[in-house]
């Protein structure tokens, strides 16, 4: 379908184009592999330090810990073969007694997934600390779930006891707005961030419902201090 007389446009040499792209791609991948190899240990160290600090925050009296994974309905000691199974950390005081279990939990927030770490003390049956690991909640409003000291003070002794013979509360956690007389299982919402506060409450409830019976069932194993 050639128009008579029209000059043929210069045809680009496709071999040269492919070679150029290939060479640039090769160089790019070498650079990336080098950067990845060089930074990977630093990134791993940063992440480990961050996790360590977060566990310290939710289990303040702990000086040593053992790592566990939830596989099916059972807790097993952590090792390298696990990747995505939910993690739990048992924290021990200086004298080797179990202070509590730090539990990773996540759920839908107002914007994207909220990831939490919270400390659960089997002795008192309560949540003793909460830390937001990752959230994209609205700056200035929803992101207060990780910063507002008043909101976080809800989680220093929050009653989540299972229904037990002594007739303790067994209902789920409850979010209330601007409460003055909080019951031990109630969380005071952040004004202007009700959805984010509710999300935290829901994440805790879902995680507690799933895990607390398992934790109490394996409490003897979990209470074994790390051997060192």
């Amino acid at each position: 379908m050639k128009v008579e007389g029209a000059p043929e446009p210069p045809r680009p040499d496709s071999t040269r184009m492919v070679l150029t792209m290939g060479a640039v791609g090769l160089l790019a991948s070498i650079l990336l592999v080098a950067t990845y190899t060089y930074t990977a240990p630093y990134i791993a160290a940063n992440q480990a330090a961050y996790l360590e600090a977060s566990i310290q925050e939710v289990l303040p009296a702990s000086t040593s810990r053992t790592d566990w994974r939830l596989v099916g309905e059972e807790l097993v000691p952590d090792n390298e073969s696990f990747t995505i199974e939910p993690r739990l950390f048992a924290g021990f005081r200086d004298d080797g007694t179990l202070e509590g279990v730090a539990i990773e939990a996540q759920g839908q927030g107002y914007a994207d997934i909220i990831r939490l770490l919270y400390g659960y003390s089997p002795d008192c049956g309560c949540v003793i600390g909460l830390k937001v690991l990752e959230s994209k909640e609205t700056p200035g409003l929803g992101d207060k779930i990780g910063k507002d000291p008043e909101f976080l003070s809800n989680f220093t002794a929050l009653d989540v006891r299972l229904s037990s013979p002594d007739g303790a509360t067994d209902g789920p956690l409850e979010l209330i707005k601007q409460g003055t007389n909080l019951d031990a299982w109630q969380i005071d919402a952040i004004s202007g961030a009700t959805i984010s506060s509710q999300a935290v409450t829901d994440i805790l409830n879902a995680s507690n419902e799933r895990l607390l019976t398992i934790i109490h069932g394996q409490l003897d194993e979990l209470s074994q201090p790390p051997q060192e």
Partner: protein, 212 residues
């Protein structure tokens, strides 16, 4: 326009390539390029600084590569090549930020990877580095990068101090200050950018009027 008729010496021309990015052709205030990070991550000064440094790094490295290879890259595949080069340096910056500070990486989130599509970087590669030598390209990239950084830090200072009552995390106004929350929300970024553009255009217009 009154242009000087004498030829400028090479050194001052190179210096001009650097200085034009700071004010006369500032990527944010004059070219209004790369608005995604300008509006999205300037809610704190720290975020602005990290974003500015990362963008400058990518701009500088890609300018060097693009101007070095400008005679070898066939025209038909140049854009694809530039994007590949830029994406490589962005991914490197991403790893490096993660290795230096996990907290900084977390607060910038996806916006580090999004430097790839910052049109300022592709714009400089296409408009300048692909047509000029390495030295001029470096000066141009440094000027544009620093101009961009200064501009977003200005936004960061206004937004963090009004929206959060802090500057680099230190409280500014004491306990009785009620944060102006809109300033750290995306809407606040538009307001601050609008007022800064207004001020800078007014200043430029006055200077132009005085010069004539």
């Amino acid at each position: 326009m009154s242009t000087p008729t004498t030829l400028e010496p090479a050194a001052s021309r190179t210096m001009d390539e650097f200085l034009k990015g700071l004010w006369k052709e500032n990527p944010v205030f004059v070219q209004v390029l790369g608005m995604c990070p300008v509006l999205a991550v300037t809610n704190t000064v720290m975020n602005s600084v990290v974003m500015g440094v990362a963008t400058t790094f990518v701009l500088l490295m890609s300018a060097i590569i693009v101007s070095l290879t400008r005679n070898w890259i066939p025209k038909q595949v140049r854009i694809a090549t530039y994007i590949l080069v830029i994406a490589t340096f962005v991914t490197m910056a991403d790893y490096i930020i993660k290795a230096v500070s996990l907290a900084a990486h977390q607060s910038l989130g996806a916006f580090i990877s999004l430097i790839v599509v910052n049109c300022m970087i592709l714009g400089r590669a296409e408009a300048f580095s692909s047509k000029n030598g390495v030295k001029d390209s470096i000066m141009d990239a440094m000027g544009m990068g620093i101009g961009f950084t200064l501009a977003i830090v200005m936004l960061g200072i206004v937004r963090e101090s009004l929206g959060n009552g802090t500057l680099l995390g230190f409280a500014l106004f004491g306990d009785r200050f009620e944060p102006w929350v809109i300033m750290v929300l995306p809407g606040g970024a538009f307001f601050v950018l609008g007022f800064l553009l207004l001020g800078i255009n007014a200043l430029n217009r006055r200077r132009a009027a005085e010069a004539t």
